[in-house]
């Protein structure tokens, strides 16, 4: 009986997770190999994958995901780094600043989306007016690059705080004495940043980057709330493409194939993440 206790204790957790993660993953693999029409299911092998991999929409949305991901991850990382280095000084009011910077993290995608949509509404939006004054006339949501830019801005605004917290935790593992030793040895500030801070923080940076990359691939709510893939299909990322296949076209087979592809992408990143984390803690 005693040996059963731990299994009994983890059973509810395991059951719940299996129900919403493990089972759906296997089920989507199964669905992806079928054509589903009006309740009937027909085995089609890899047909769905072939259809997707040869469709222009898929490659276009993959490209949009890549553009978004690269911009989002790099900008967030730079902002988060700058903030983390400042917070690491342990100045007065740090707690207040940090609380404020975390506010966007506590807002729903749809609320943030509505707010950013407003800011750049042609003619009336405040952000639009600022841009108009700075760059001349502009209809940001109406242009492909502008719409993507707004979503990137909104997601950076939302995600920076958390990335900063991760990096700050890494920065605080650096022992202060090393800096003093370096100072005595006559190291410049740049040298002590590069050879001490960076050396200590590199694994954390790697982890934060992976974390943000996973987030970038799966950003859906913000796109739905701000652009819904528009103008035209200029901001249709992979996740929106998948959403549309199901909600608009009821193409379960190809949507499932898409979700298998995205799952593989995510799982690859997650594996690297866990490897890095283990290498760091050992």
């Amino acid at each position: 009986m005693r040996r059963c206790y731990p299994y009994l204790l983890i059973a509810p957790a395991l059951g719940l997770i299996s129900m919403v993660s493990l089972y759906p993953t296997l089920y989507s693999l199964y669905l992806s190999l079928h054509r589903i029409r009006r309740g009937t299911m027909e085995w089609v092998g890899l047909q769905n994958f072939r259809t997707i991999l040869t469709s222009a929409s898929f490659w276009q949305s993959l490209q949009h995901t890549l553009v978004f991901g690269v911009c989002f991850v790099s900008i967030t990382l730079i902002c988060a780094y700058a903030l983390a280095l400042m917070f690491n000084r342990k100045l007065a009011l740090n707690g207040l600043y940090m609380t404020i910077i975390f506010v966007p993290w506590m807002l729903s995608d749809i609320v943030s989306g509505v707010m950013f949509r407003w800011l750049f509404l042609p003619h009336t939006g405040f952000g639009h007016q600022v841009l108009e004054a700075l760059l001349g006339t502009s209809n940001l949501p109406g242009t492909p690059a502008g719409a993507m830019g707004i979503v990137i801005g909104a997601t950076v605004w939302q995600a920076t705080a958390f990335a900063m917290l991760l990096l700050l935790a890494g920065l605080q593992t650096v022992p202060r004495e090393i800096y003093e030793a370096a100072l005595i040895d006559g190291a410049t500030r740049w040298q002590s940043f590069w050879y001490i801070t960076w050396a200590f923080v590199r694994p954390t940076t790697m982890i934060t980057t992976l974390f943000l990359t996973i987030q970038a691939i799966n950003t859906t709510g913000m796109f739905l709330a701000i652009t819904e893939g528009g103008p035209g299909r200029a901001t249709e990322v992979l996740s929106l493409y998948m959403y549309r296949e199901v909600i608009t076209f009821f193409n379960f087979g190809s949507a499932a194939a898409l979700s298998v592809i995205m799952f593989v992408l995510n799982a690859a990143l997650a594996t690297i993440y866990i490897r890095t984390l283990r290498a760091e803690t050992v």
Partner: protein
């Protein structure tokens, strides 16, 4: 003796200060950092303030060019809360997010305890599995879950939302509870075990009361995440009776004719309120727990 005192105080001040040499430079840097951080904070809060101010404007002015409204106008909030739909959406959000957070908390406390206090076959496998689930986002599961729910006739129900929410929170919850329970000294439990208490009694009477801050953190964070969830609810819910506030907001935005921006802003403010209030009250626990859930190996 009197004339000595000012000198003494002077020496004391010197001692409290750090080295006098680089002091001036540090001072400038500190000031610069404060200026930058205040700027960042204003930038971060700007959309939120903009929305709050918009919600307090009289209707049909559009998003006017004056920033501070001339007259404060609270009718949008009254109008929203007296519509039949909006309070219902709020109620649905509350039921789903509270139910999900409650189940998550209980389930992850039990599993977290098992992972700390027992060594069992498959423990490390279970932990790696949990960690994987922590990282893999729910997005790719939504398609098969939607199909499953529609086959079982569970679309548009509290049951499916609470089930999904509670399960999504569990990996994170286990991670936080694990690190909390690890800090509780083992002797108390051993003493209770000697007295013949069963594991459930030990958990209920000794571990959970001591791990209460962890439980609170898991519950509140999951409540906020569930409350803010938009995508899962959008896919699973389609009837007016069952929709949550975030989905209602999405619909509202799409039906907007252009004259009701202030009303929409008021809806935004009401929806963001619970998350913000909970975060402001428990911010230290939040930050701590989030860090724990993300980087502890």
């Amino acid at each position: 003796m009197k004339h000595v005192q000012p000198i003494d105080r002077h020496i004391l001040f010197r001692a409290v200060r750090k080295s006098p040499g680089p002091r001036r430079r540090w001072h400038w840097e500190t000031l610069a950092i404060h200026v930058i951080l205040v700027g960042v904070c204003l930038l971060v809060l700007f959309p939120v303030f903009y929305t709050i101010l918009t919600s307090l404007r009289p209707p049909r002015l559009g998003l006017s060019r004056t920033f501070i409204p001339d007259t404060w106008y609270f009718d949008h909030y009254i109008r929203l809360l007296s519509t039949p739909r909006f309070p219902r959406y709020i109620l649905n959000s509350a039921i789903n997010s509270l139910g999900g957070a409650l189940i998550t908390t209980v389930v992850s406390a039990l599993a977290g305890y098992a992972c700390v206090r027992y060594t069992f076959h498959g423990r490390s496998l279970f932990l790696i599995f949990i960690m994987g689930m922590l990282l893999l986002p729910g997005l790719t599961n939504l398609i098969p879950l939607y199909k499953l729910a529609s086959d079982l006739g569970l679309l548009d129900s509290y049951l499916i939302m609470i089930a999904i929410y509670s399960a999504y929170g569990v990996p994170f919850g286990i991670w936080v509870m694990k690190s909390f329970i690890e800090r509780i000294p083992r002797e108390l439990e051993d003493a209770a075990a000697v007295d013949g208490a069963s594991p459930l009694q030990i958990i209920g009477h000794i571990v959970l009361p001591l791990a209460r801050p962890g439980l609170v953190a898991v519950f509140l964070l999951n409540f906020v995440y569930n409350w803010n969830d938009f995508l899962t609810a959008l896919i699973m819910l389609s009837s007016t009776a069952m929709k949550t506030a975030t989905v209602g907001l999405f619909d509202f935005q799409n039906q907007l004719t252009g004259n009701e921006n202030e009303l929409l802003a008021a809806a935004c403010v009401i929806i963001m309120l619970p998350g913000l209030v909970v975060f402001l009250i428990a911010r230290k626990t939040f930050l701590w727990a989030m860090l724990d859930g993300a980087v502890k190996g």
